[in-house]
């Protein structure tokens, strides 16, 4: 390693340093605002350092990590999302009793893990990043440990993540056994040579897909999702829904593009099946749910299904579609869970549909923002979600994946129903009291304001982001 490598690694190093600083600060003086502020500054510094690293890329730091524009883009996305989650968490946890400082340490470590994932070029860094991301999440999900639901959700996530990780490790072992390398870039060259054993490689890749499928909550590995989202505190649920999945999807795209998995027909069949089942399962299971967090969980299953459709298309259009859709998905999911977070009080999360009945007449601004987020999830024009879905359909159509596109369109139409169910509840007459409840803390309003602005901006003027994504080679 040289000094230049350290510059390329700067975003990761700053995250690691911020973790230590926050830990020391807590040891010296326990103060929620201070911990949150330090975390915020650390994440901000990491985000700022992306531009410094950008001068040094592409750059292989040891065989493990590949820092290039692609990984920097997703690191940026992850850090900005983490910044939003910090803002939401501060307002959310401030209302609760107990010490909340350690949450930020966990969050920084998880963000570091996500950053390692998006820049990994090796099974070792892949697994390291995965565990760096997963282990803090157990703690984050169960953070409000005196409540029964979060604790249950944390334990469930712990067990299931371990189960899926074992499948994945076994898959990696099979691939390594067949190809003799754990580096992504070398696997591609091995795979085009004759002489490798497909009976080891293909099942190996399939087992790795199980690991991806679990983290991305793709059907049939999706069963855990609603329980965890419902149980986790709303900002943590936002974290699980966006950052954890976004990092995994960025890695999925890079890994399978680098090893040129498009050539492996059976693997692509698996993805096709997963995409179709996810779109159907997510949208149908959400239909009559009465819990907003569960609805969002199912919705996220469907959205990841859409992403897999675009992922299979391959080529430039697919990279644009996936990149843009992930950004739109981040904004809307953070926004939707952010609404739940800011409306939740000390008594528990505001996640029942009845909590939202007549919201518009009590809090017109919050209700309008939530409606906008739901419209974006449903893919209605002038929101980022529409542009994202447009490019996914375009990417799919460019390689004539008609069956999956038809499923996408039909299930999106079904999906509209449950988004509109929430919208109807928001705008229905409120029989109850007209009091608005406590005012929303400033950090939460800032976060939601930023997300709303980004949502509309990207929906109307997507050009700059599209241009940026176009310049990112995944491999």
């Amino acid at each position: 390693m040289t000094g230049l490598d350290f510059i390329a690694l700067l975003p990761l190093l700053i995250l690691a340093a911020a973790t230590v600083i926050v830990m020391l600060a807590i040891a010296i003086h326990r103060c929620h605002a201070l911990s949150a502020a330090l975390t915020f500054v650390g994440l901000g510094a990491s985000f700022g350092s992306l531009w410094i690293s950008a001068c040094r890329v592409p750059c292989k730091v040891t065989p493990l990590l590949l820092i290039d524009r692609y990984s920097l883009f997703y690191m940026g996305l992850i850090t900005v999302a983490s910044l939003v989650v910090v803002l939401l968490s501060y307002g959310y946890f401030e209302k609760l009793d107990g010490d909340h400082d350690e949450l930020y340490i966990l969050m920084l470590v998880a963000t570091l893990g996500s950053a390692v994932l998006v820049s990994s070029n090796h099974f070792i860094s892949f697994f390291l990043g995965l565990e760096l991301l997963s282990v803090p999440l157990y703690g984050m999900i169960a953070y409000t440990r005196r409540r029964p639901l979060p604790l249950e959700a944390g334990v469930k996530y712990l067990v299931l993540a371990a189960v899926s990780a074992t499948f994945m490790l076994f898959g990696m072992a099979l691939v390594y056994g067949a190809l003799g390398t754990m580096r992504f870039d070398q696997m591609a060259t091995q795979l085009v040579l004759p002489g490798f054993d497909p009976w080891l490689v293909i099942p190996g890749l399939t087992l790795i897909i199980t690991g991806f499928g679990f983290k991305l909550a793709l059907a049939p590995f999706h069963i855990w999702t609603p329980d965890i989202y419902q149980g986790a505190p709303a900002p943590v649920a936002a974290y699980v829904a966006t950052i954890s999945k976004g990092a995994m999807f960025a890695l999925l795209l890079r890994y399978f593009y680098q090893i040129e998995a498009q050539g492996q027909a059976p693997v692509m069949t698996v993805f096709a099946v997963i995409a179709i089942v996810s779109m159907c399962a997510g949208n149908i299971l959400a239909l009559l749910q009465d819990n907003v967090k569960r609805i969002l969980a199912y919705s996220s299953i469907a959205h990841l299904g859409y992403l897999v459709v675009a992922f299979q298309a391959s080529g430039q259009l697919a990279i644009i579609a996936v990149g843009f859709y992930l950004v739109a998905y981040f904004i809307t999911m953070l926004g939707a869970f952010g609404i739940v977070a800011v409306l939740s009080g000390s008594a528990g999360d505001a996640d029942s549909l009845s909590d939202y009945r007549g919201l518009f007449w009590r809090r017109p601004v919050v209700a309008s923002v939530f409606t906008l987020m739901l419209f974006s999830l449903a893919g209605i024009p002038v929101t980022a979600g529409f542009i994202g879905k447009f490019y996914i359909v375009a990417a799919g159509a460019s390689v004539a994946m008609w069956s999956q596109i038809i499923v996408l369109v039909v299930t999106s139409a079904i999906g509209l129903f449950y988004y509109l169910r929430i919208v109807v509840a928001i705008f229905s007459d409120s029989a109850g009291s007209a009091d608005a409840g406590p005012a929303i803390a400033l950090p939460g309003s800032v976060a939601l304001g930023f997300l709303t602005a980004a949502l509309v901006f990207l929906g109307v003027y997507p050009q700059p982001l599209l241009g940026l994504i176009r310049s990112l080679p995944p491999g």
Binding site: V155, S164, P266, L287, L288
Partner: protein, 621 residues
């Protein structure tokens, strides 16, 4: 300077957004400053752009400003792009300027209304949509403006929504124009599908290159676009929404139903003139729609007792003249009449607003009278507007523009003697109903006392418009030259009627209407009542009063059969398909929810089971 073009729609839109978000918390004065200021700024920008455009015209005669492409795939490249040529320039300048005067007037007219900020937010949004429609470079942006205009008209007509009648009038406007919009959407898709581009100029070029004269596609496209145009511009057979739309506040009527929105159809046809040149049948249909509408609406205007409804029918009739001009290929004449009409019709509405407010919201012209002395500002300006509308020879703007249309009709290969005579009869009717209105309202005995006189913010804009209604016609020569840079020149053929003859005959028709009106409504006020005594007269009066029974016809033809069908088909057969889909999905949901047990061992089993299935897929396939 031309680079500021995007500001013309952006400023009113920003104003609307601002008022929508913080408006209810602002004081009335602040709302007035934002609402009127945004339109004033847009007007200034458009005037500056206009000055630049005229002093140093772009080489190609047009200026395109492409801001960005919204989303792009294949030939579907909808840009956020604006196109400025002489046609859109004239429309934009007139629309923003007249809108500014109407906004200024509204600050006083709407004083004390509880929806003050809401009103200005809608009005700003309306202007933004209209300007977007006019400047749009491609079909999608044009459609956005088109629908935005439709939405705002709905919101403004039903502005006083607490009275159900107003809400219903808003719905009627929305639903009736929707019929036209659907035709237009199909037409736009037809153009896009066959010519493979969204940009209007490229489309016109491609149509010119690929389609022969009279080709069925061109005719179909022309007729479908005409469908959209007759909806928005309130022409036969979709004109029924406009008279009811008078339910909105009077400045709304001035803005939407006189000066700007209803001319969207005229603009659409002028913008796509290439299609009509390729489809003579469609162009002839435009002319026929125009002549029939102008005559029918002229008759109807003669029988109304509501001052605003008289003006509404006169609007329909005057737009009929514009359609006639488009139909006979006198493109520039249509736009010229649009401009003069914008001045005098906005003037008439605003002046009538002064009268209505002065008389405690009295609309019935038979309860007005003698206001000449009581409201001199309203009288003199209304007289100026009325003379321009009726076409007082030589000194009013309306005379020049209408005369140009009549002369073109006579001398066009598409027009001819019949259309010309129809147009002249229209002049007679226009003169008749205009002076009927003026004599009944401003002459005779005072019937309702005046309670309230207008201030300067209402009087000022009216006087400016009155001046324009008089002098606006003197630019005819240079206007025609300007228009030839954007629209094809008029080809003279046919009857060979000279301009002098045409003007003289039109002048005679005007004078005849004036004299008859004077005779009937000033000298022998009982005569009109006697005419209605006869059974034939009464029938004709009822027929015209109800707009040739169009509402009745639609009620019998469309509404009642639909209600009847709905009644016997209470358990909708078609609905059962959708109910079926809903039931099937619900069943799926119930079945799928069974997988949600919340048990950890079950969750882990799913992961294992899913892996087995995927492994089976790769092993067996």
């Amino acid at each position: 300077m031309l680079g500021l073009l995007w500001l013309v729609p952006a400023i009113p839109f920003a104003g609307a957004l601002w008022l929508a978000v913080v408006g209810p918390r602002l004081r009335e004065r602040a709302v007035a400053v934002i609402g009127t200021g945004s339109i004033a700024a847009a007007t200034i920008v458009s005037l500056l752009i206009g000055a630049q455009f005229l002093s140093s015209p772009p080489a190609s005669g047009a200026y395109t400003q492409t801001l960005w492409t919204w989303v792009g795939v294949g030939t579907f490249q909808p840009g956020i792009a604006f196109y400025l040529d002489a046609l859109s320039l004239v429309m934009v300048v007139v629309v923003t300027f007249v809108s500014f005067l109407i906004h200024l007037y509204s600050t006083e007219f709407m004083h004390g209304d509880e929806g003050y900020s809401r009103f200005f937010a809608y009005m700003n949004l309306f202007v933004a949509s209209m300007v977007t429609l006019l400047l749009a470079d491609n079909l999608l942006l044009l459609y956005l403006g088109w629908e935005g205009v439709g939405l705002c008209s709905y919101l403004l007509i039903g502005f006083w929504y607490k009275d159900t009648v107003n809400g219903i009038a808003g719905q009627k406007a929305f639903i009736v124009t929707r019929a036209g919009d659907t035709a237009m959407a199909v037409g736009l898709y037809l153009l896009f599908h066959n010519l493979g581009t969204l940009r209007i100029q490229d489309l016109m070029q491609a149509a010119h290159d690929h389609w022969a004269v009279g080709s069925p596609l061109a005719v179909a496209a022309g007729l479908l676009l005409l469908g959209g145009a007759v909806g928005k511009s309130a022409q036969l057979p979709l004109q029924t929404w406009l008279p009811d739309a008078m339910a909105g506040p009077t400045p709304t009527s001035a803005l939407i139903h006189a000066a700007t929105m209803v001319t969207a159809g005229v603009y659409l046809i002028a913008r796509t003139h290439v299609v009509y040149e390729l489809a003579p049948a469609a162009q002839f249909a435009v002319a026929m729609v125009g002549i029939l509408t102008l005559l029918m609406a002229g008759c109807s205007a003669l029988t109304q007792w509501d001052i605003k409804r008289v003006l509404a029918y006169s609007t329909i009739s005057q737009i009929g003249y514009m359609f006639l001009a488009l139909g006979v290929g006198a493109w520039g004449a249509a736009i010229f009449h649009f401009m003069t009409h914008a001045f005098f019709k906005a003037l008439l509405f605003l002046a009538s607003g002064i009268v209505i407010e002065a008389l405690h919201h009295e609309h019935n012209i038979f309860r007005m009278g003698g206001l000449r002395k009581e409201l001199p500002v309203a009288f003199w300006t209304f007289l100026a507007g009325g003379c321009a509308l009726a076409g007082l020879p030589l000194i009013t703007a309306g005379f020049y523009s209408k005369d140009l249309i009549l002369w073109s009709t006579a001398n066009s290969p598409i027009g001819g003697a019949l259309l010309w005579v129809g147009g002249l009869i229209g002049v007679l009717f226009t003169s008749l109903y205009t002076f009927r209105l003026i004599f009944l309202v401003f002459f005779g005995d005072v019937k309702t006392p005046v309670s309230h006189r207008p201030g300067m913010t209402m009087g000022g804009p009216v006087m400016v418009l009155a001046a324009l209604a008089i002098i606006g016609g003197f630019v005819k020569g240079s206007f025609e030259t300007l228009m030839t840079t954007a629209l094809p020149p008029f080809h003279e053929a046919g009857l060979g009627v000279s301009e002098l003859v045409s003007s003289t005959v039109a002048g005679v028709a005007f004078a005849l209407g004036l004299v008859v009106a004077w005779y009937i409504w000033v000298l022998h006020p009982a005569l009109a009542d006697q005419a209605v005594e006869f059974s034939g007269g009464r029938l004709l009066h009822r027929f015209w009063f109800s707009d040739w029974g169009m509402d009745w016809l639609y009620d019998r033809l469309l509404v009642r059969p639909l209600v009847w069908a709905a009644t016997i088909n209470k358990n909708d057969v078609i609905d059962s398909i959708y109910d079926g889909i809903a039931a099937v999905t619900t069943t799926f949901y119930r079945a799928a929810s069974l997988t949600e047990t919340g048990k950890l061992r079950w969750h882990a089993a799913w992961i294992a089971g899913g892996t087995v299935v995927t492994l089976a897929i790769v092993m067996l396939l």
